[in-house]
């Protein structure tokens, strides 16, 4: 049985000064996680998601700053009063995995997400949007790169064009900085998830991602894949995520300067 992770998570939260904690596929979080977070940080933490939600959202920011604008078990979009007005939109996602759904099925969910984000951006009148979560697709897959899906591109230079017209329809870009984390020529681990099977194996995947609309991409101050928390390695002796003791996914840490 996996060790309880509450204390380790709380240490990571304190170590990095986390304001918003998102946990995917964590089941019903440990009942004392809020108390553990509070004890570790001396801040009052709230759990804003429903128990059925695939991504559990915790924060110490005031509850009145949060408004859930779209929900479905696998995706929730929040309008958050954070930093300079008008704040941001935060989409917390856990897409269905590849063992459970075909590429088409993943693309349908991605198209659904893209449509709901655009609808909400139009309603609130701004596009300061962040998408974060376990997308269960790599950055290069159609569900993330397609114009009718999330439309996330690998460079800020492309994203700063803001939109692209495809077959007479205009589609907004996301910037996906996770492209830059593949392999061993970058700082940190080669991906967030390791899976080796079949005749063609990629071994390391980056399923855990954070995407930004062009309006926010210049606000990104820090982004890394964590393989260590408070001196505790999250990797096994083989150098891959230690699923037995911690998680089969490595956590992401990102910081936005919104002031």
């Amino acid at each position: 049985m996996r060790k309880p992770l509450g204390a380790l998570i709380a240490r990571a939260v304190r170590e990095h000064g986390v304001d918003i904690l998102l946990l995917a596929e964590c089941g019903d979080p440990e009942k004392d996680l809020l108390a553990t977070l509070q004890a570790e940080t001396s801040l009052k933490w709230l759990r804003l998601s429903r128990s059925a939600d695939k991504v559990q959202l915790f924060t110490h920011l005031p509850q009145q700053n949060w408004h859930q604008s779209h929900s479905e078990n696998r995706m929730a979009i929040w309008k958050v009063g954070l930093g300079q007005p008008p704040g941001i939109l935060l989409a917390a996602i856990h897409f269905v995995d590849k063992r459970s759904e075909s590429e088409d099925g993943q693309m349908l969910l991605a198209a659904e997400l893209a449509k709901e984000i655009v609808r909400l951006e139009d309603a609130v009148g701004f596009q300061r949007t962040v998408v974060v979560g376990d997308l269960n697709m790599n950055p290069f897959e159609k569900g993330l790169t397609g114009a009718t899906t999330v439309h996330a591109v690998m460079t800020q230079q492309i994203a700063q064009r803001k939109t692209r017209i495809v077959q007479e329809s205009e589609y907004r870009f996301f910037y996906n900085p996770m492209w830059g984390f593949f392999g061993d020529r970058t700082a940190g681990p080669p991906g967030t998830y390791y899976y080796a099977s079949g005749t063609t194996a990629q071994f390391w995947h980056i399923f855990d991602q954070v995407l930004f609309r062009p309006e926010l991409m210049n606000k990104l101050r820090e982004l890394k894949i964590l393989d260590c928390i408070a001196g505790v390695s999250l990797l096994s002796k083989r150098g891959i995520p230690n699923a037995n003791d911690y998680s089969d996914h490595l956590p992401l840490l990102f910081q936005l300067d919104l002031d």
Partner: protein, 166 residues
């Protein structure tokens, strides 16, 4: 017609069969009626390759929030069979899993499939009556009522937003 050869077609074939999209659109309209306009239903459609997805979305205008309640997914060419995805339709063993799981290369569906409009309607009835749907609709109605009550108090009126029949 040669009377010596019997009709081998099953009797349940009807000619007035409706597509999943039509059925969802009608149910979306009913949601507005049964909640007296506090909530609205809309149907959204997405496509990917050769698959089409229709979603029944519950809209709470007072809360400016939307909630995807049910998805019906079928091929772009044929409306049936349609997989019907809703929290209340998950097979008990698969709570928490996705639409299907792979077992020895075979896909075992987690959500049920409708092969005609009768089955589609039966599945929607089951999903609408499920605990998760009742909890969602009740939560939204309660939040709308609370919002309106606060607004009425602010404006100096004591009238209820929703009468006792809802």
């Amino acid at each position: 017609m040669d009377d010596t050869i019997p009709n081998l077609w099953p009797e349940q074939f009807r000619i007035n069969v409706q597509t999943p999209l039509t059925i969802l659109r009608i149910q979306a309209q009913y949601l507005g009626k049964v909640t007296r306009g506090i909530l609205q239903g809309v149907v959204e459609t997405e496509t990917a390759k050769d698959r089409v997805q229709h979603r029944l979305v519950v809209v709470a205008p007072a809360l400016t929030s939307r909630h995807t309640l049910i998805r019906a997914i079928h091929s772009a060419q044929w409306p049936y069979p349609a997989e019907v995805q809703a929290e209340g339709l998950k097979k008990p063993d698969h709570a928490g899993l996705a639409s299907s799981i792979s077992l020895a290369g075979l896909q075992e569906r987690v959500y049920p499939t409708a092969n005609d409009d009768d089955e589609m309607q039966q599945l929607l009835r089951k999903a609408f009556g499920s605990e998760s749907t009742r909890a969602l609709i009740s939560s939204l109605l309660a939040q709308c009522n609370e919002l309106f009550a606060a607004s009425q108090t602010k404006n100096g009126s004591n009238e209820n937003f929703v009468d006792s029949g809802v």
